[in-house]
């Protein structure tokens, strides 16, 4: 018995309730990450060479449920449909094309080394592990890096119109935390273009009858039969009716849970419900407190705000971040002379400058604002300035035209054209939201919740601790450690869906070829449906005074203040108490108008917020348990003298996988991270 397992047993013994016992019987060995043997660069090849296969005739007999149709879900559903599985795909949006992957702006990384600037599979792997502050699994990240190049090829073949150079070849740009140009992009709409590629592949499979699509459906329960996930209960959001669906395997591709903070860059509908139901059915939740706060978002402007908007990290290629050198300087940006500006990222991190990783950039912005150097009316903002870039590009254009004595105005005008071509849509969006023209005045930006590295714990095969239940993309915890690098989310979603799950799913479905589809009249389906119906009735029956939205806002405030960019033990303990009280209040005073059996967005939202409240508590527990700072998790008690995150590798080099053990109770299981190739060091971007 290794360390990992002893922790696992200890956890179970501590808690004697039914759920824990069931978990212990069903999922005893489930924290086995199943990492294949061999050297790191051979593992995936070895795995593919030896994993079990399902022959085409048998694939047709096997049913797979895919929940969520973002990059991970759409690519998985399309690829599995192509292979011949019978796929059912679900999304809560009116069309699979609207999943929130669509909002990703900047780009997708791939180790193509088209720029001849020293990139390689190893370099991408190394950057991702280091960027994640040594809290990700080496084998998974190496595989991600290996398949990254195939993703670009696949997308090009589908007709994704990536940006190109005049020679007709693909263009690249840089992103934070790297020193090579490996990011492929389609203006500021890369996520949209990749998702449309995957969506088109999915629609093709729908047309061929290999995939059946259920849009405006929300998964509300996992059905478990004989220790395996065998189906779901979904609610048709138009009619409000509950449906039962069988699957030999279930894939959750349901994205992240940043909306637990109420204000985030996530879409309004993004939620944790499917993942949370899986968690309550025995799937361990990995590193729930690892949240990414993105440094460049448009600042909050008032109490009414419903969501935050990201300004792509790609802007940090050309924009320079600064605040005034004097505290409380109220002059307009243009009135502050160069020598009175503090380009604090360039000052603190000369090697990476404005392109430090997101967690580092976010904390640095918070530090300046907390110290009183913030700008704008709220003073909770810093400048992102394109003035220098406009002049630099303008001069290049002038020199192309061979002019010797161009005026400053001419240079600026030409420079603006270049900046417009690169970032035009982002600049337009900024102007629409703020009413300010970023070609003339610097953008004001501030960090905002953007992505969650934590998620359902999965093994190397992307299987959760419930057999037959898989998690892909942002919904799982696996590849980004404690901080994700820019342009890696799109890469991971598509890697999981196009190139990983088609192999790993077959490996376990090969044993299912004799398993007949289970009728949905089976008592387990009956029971699960009853459970969901009861919960919905309970919610509707409360008939209290406060709206769902008001609870969500209050939860978000607790989370942002006490489990946000900086955390400490005292605040986290307070947050746990406050969340528990909020939960009680929610279940006794929420008001949901309308009926159950109709289109009722307030009811949909209530289902989601109820789960967010429970998740919020677990996030705080996880953050309190992790007595170190790493990546996006910054515990104020643990920092270096100059304010950098201070890791504790001796005690916390593990994945915290939490097992649900009844209301407000969780058991901690630890998956030790073994670094065989990379030697963890203090991250240094100086």
């Amino acid at each position: 018995m290794d360390d990992r397992m002893s922790e696992c047993f200890l956890g179970v013994i501590k808690n004697k309730n039914l759920s824990a016992e069931r978990w212990a019987t069903n999922h005893r060995n489930m924290l086995d990450a199943k990492i294949p043997a061999g050297t790191l660069d051979e593992k995936w090849t070895e795995y593919k060479g030896h994993c079990k296969l399902v022959n085409p005739a048998n694939k047709r007999k096997l049913e797979v449920i895919v929940v969520g149709t973002g990059l991970a879900g759409a690519s998985a559903a399309a690829s599995l449909g192509e292979l011949g599985y019978q796929v059912k795909a679900f999304c809560f949006q009116d069309s699979p094309r609207r999943a929130h992957s669509i909002a990703a702006q900047g780009g997708i990384n791939a180790a193509k080394n088209y720029q001849n600037d020293g990139d390689s599979v190893f370099r991408l792997f190394y950057d991702t592990i280091k960027g994640g502050d040594y809290r990700a699994r080496e084998a998974n990240v190496h595989r991600l890096s290996e398949v990254s190049a195939n993703i670009i090829d696949q997308c090009v073949a589908q007709g994704v119109p990536f940006a190109r150079e005049y020679g007709g070849l693909l263009s690249n740009r840089s992103f934070g935390g790297t020193q090579v140009q490996r990011t492929f992009y389609a203006a500021g709409q890369t996520g949209q273009q990749l998702l449309i590629g995957a969506y088109q592949a999915l629609e093709r499979q729908i047309a061929l009858g290999n995939v059946k699509m259920y849009s405006r459906h929300e998964m509300l329960e996992i059905v478990e039969i004989d220790g395996k996930a065998r189906g779901i209960i979904a609610r048709d959001l138009v009619t409000g009716k509950l449906e039962r669906h069988f699957g030999h395997a279930i894939l959750l591709c349901t994205g992240g849970y940043g909306n637990v903070f109420y204000l985030s860059t996530n879409a309004m509908g993004s939620n944790v419900t499917a993942a949370w139901k899986a968690h309550k059915k025995g799937a361990a939740f990995g590193n729930p407190c690892f949240t990414q706060i993105h440094p460049t978002c448009i600042p909050v402007s008032g109490d009414h705000q419903s969501k935050l908007t990201l300004m792509s990290e790609s802007l940090r290629n050309d924009g320079r971040i600064w605040v005034p050198k004097a505290k409380g300087d109220n002059r307009k940006a243009s009135d502050i002379p160069e020598e009175e500006r503090d380009y604090y990222l360039e000052r603190r991190y000369p090697a990476f400058g404005n392109l430090v990783p997101r967690d580092v950039a976010s904390r640095a912005a918070k530090e300046r604002c907390d110290e009183g150097y913030g700008v704008g009316t709220s003073k909770q903002a810093v400048y992102l300035d394109f003035g220098a870039a406009i002049i630099r590009y303008g001069k290049i254009e002038i020199s192309k035209e061979g002019k010797d004595n161009a005026s400053q105005e001419e240079i600026i005008a030409l420079g603006k054209e270049v900046v417009k071509e690169k970032y035009g849509n982002l600049f337009d969006m900024y102007e629409k939201i703020t009413g300010e023209n970023p070609y003339e005045v610097p953008m004001r930006i501030y960090p905002a919740v953007h992505y969650t590295m934590g998620g359902l714990w999965v093994d190397y095969e992307l299987q959760t601790s419930v057999p037959g239940l898989y998690a892909l993309g942002e919904a799982n915890f696996s590849d980004h450690g404690a901080n994700r690098l820019g342009a890696s989310a799109l890469m991971q979603g598509l890697a999981d869906g196009y190139f990983v799950i088609p192999y790993t799913l077959g490996n376990s479905l090969a044993d299912e070829i004799y398993a007949k589809a289970i009728e949905t009249s089976h008592p387990a389906f009956e029971e699960a449906k009853k459970e969901v119906a009861g919960r919905i009735q309970k919610l509707m029956g409360i008939k209290g005074k406060q709206s769902v939205e008001s609870f969500h806002k209050r939860l978000g405030k607790i989370m942002w203040e006490k489990c946000g960019m900086a955390r400490n033990a005292k605040g986290l303990q307070e947050a746990i108490t406050e969340i528990q009280a909020l939960k009680k209040e929610f279940w006794s005073d929420v008001r949901i108008p309308g009926e159950i059996e109709e289109m009722n967005p307030e009811l949909d939202k209530a289902n989601r917020v109820a789960d967010f409240i429970e998740l919020g508590e677990l996030m705080c527990i996880d953050a309190l348990n992790r007595n170190e700072s790493c990546g996006g998790h910054f515990r104020e008690e643990y920092q270096t003298p100059d304010g950098e995150a201070l890791r504790d590798d001796a005690n916390y080099m593990y994945v915290a996988a939490w097992e649900y053990a009844g209301e407000s109770k969780w058991n901690l299981h630890k998956e030790t991270l073994n670094y065989e190739v990379i030697k963890p060091t203090q991250r240094n971007y100086k």
């Binding site: 669509i102 696949q154 073949a157």
Partner: protein, 254 residues
């Protein structure tokens, strides 16, 4: 930017479901900040309705940053409201003045039945894509991404068409409820790329047939679609679509 607060009268279409008859209802919202987005103003109204024990207004929305294509309000006689090249979620209240009356309706088209209030069913668009809006390449079949150089101008033109967010404003703006701009954007996106060439003829034929089957109207070149498109998809795409369609009709073997 000067901020100000305003009081507004709203005339909003309410309809319980696709079978019932709808009607306009009047609402008043107060102290709306010019910094709010249009949907945030609706959030305020809905909170008010929930507080008063009334049914809140149902509308589609998700990303609230102008890219998912979910939002679909017909505001003061224009899809997505008064701003050019804009979605409803990115419309901000500084577009309005104190005392204004704002009329809000759902997209109106036979092919987009109302689900509830301002929410409509746009699944017809998905079925048009199913008819051929893709390149038939299974996962794993691809050659190296740089094996097929594509002239930058072609790639840019293809991208400009691929920017379509599938919101349906073009249909809502068209007096014939034609889906030609949507369809032409997809046909152009794929026809402009060498990867799309093998299926070029069947794609356009099948997609047009599906569009007709869904009950969208014909195009009479009024250009209302282009004028309202939040992503400024050019009407020249319709010209390209017609060329592709005619060419396919004359030369297709089938």
């Amino acid at each position: 930017m000067e901020h100000y607060n305003m009081n507004l009268n709203l005339k909003v279409w309410r309809q319980k479901n696709c079978k019932s008859k709808g009607e306009f209802k009047l609402y008043r919202v107060e102290n709306i900040s010019s910094e709010m987005s249009f949907l945030e103003m609706f959030d305020v109204l809905n909170e008010q309705l929930i507080h008063d024990g009334e049914d809140p207004i149902t509308f589609d929305h998700d990303c609230r940053e102008g890219i998912c294509g979910a939002c679909s309000m017909y505001i003061n006689g224009k899809p997505h409201g008064p701003w050019q090249a804009n979605t409803t979620c990115q419309l901000h209240m500084r577009a309005f003045n104190d005392g204004d009356t704002v009329v809000v309706e759902p997209w109106r088209a036979d092919a987009f039945p109302v689900i509830k209030d301002l929410m409509v069913d746009r699944s017809a668009f998905d079925r048009i894509i199913q008819a051929g809006g893709y390149i038939s390449v299974n996962t794993g079949n691809a050659v190296d991404g740089n094996a097929i150089p594509i002239p930058k101008d072609d790639a840019d033109a293809s991208f400009a068409a691929a920017m379509c967010i599938g919101c349906g404003a073009c249909v809502a703006a068209c007096k014939n409820s034609s889906a030609m701009l949507f369809l032409s954007a997809k046909v152009s996106h794929l026809a402009l790329l060498p990867q799309g060439a093998p299926e070029r003829k069947s794609r356009v034929m099948n997609m047009v047939a599906q569009m007709d089957k869904e009950g969208f109207g014909s195009c009479t070149n009024t250009g209302a679609c282009e004028a309202t498109c939040p992503k400024e998809i050019s009407i020249t795409n319709i010209a390209r679509l017609n060329k592709e369609y005619l060419g396919a009709g004359f030369t297709s073997d089938k």
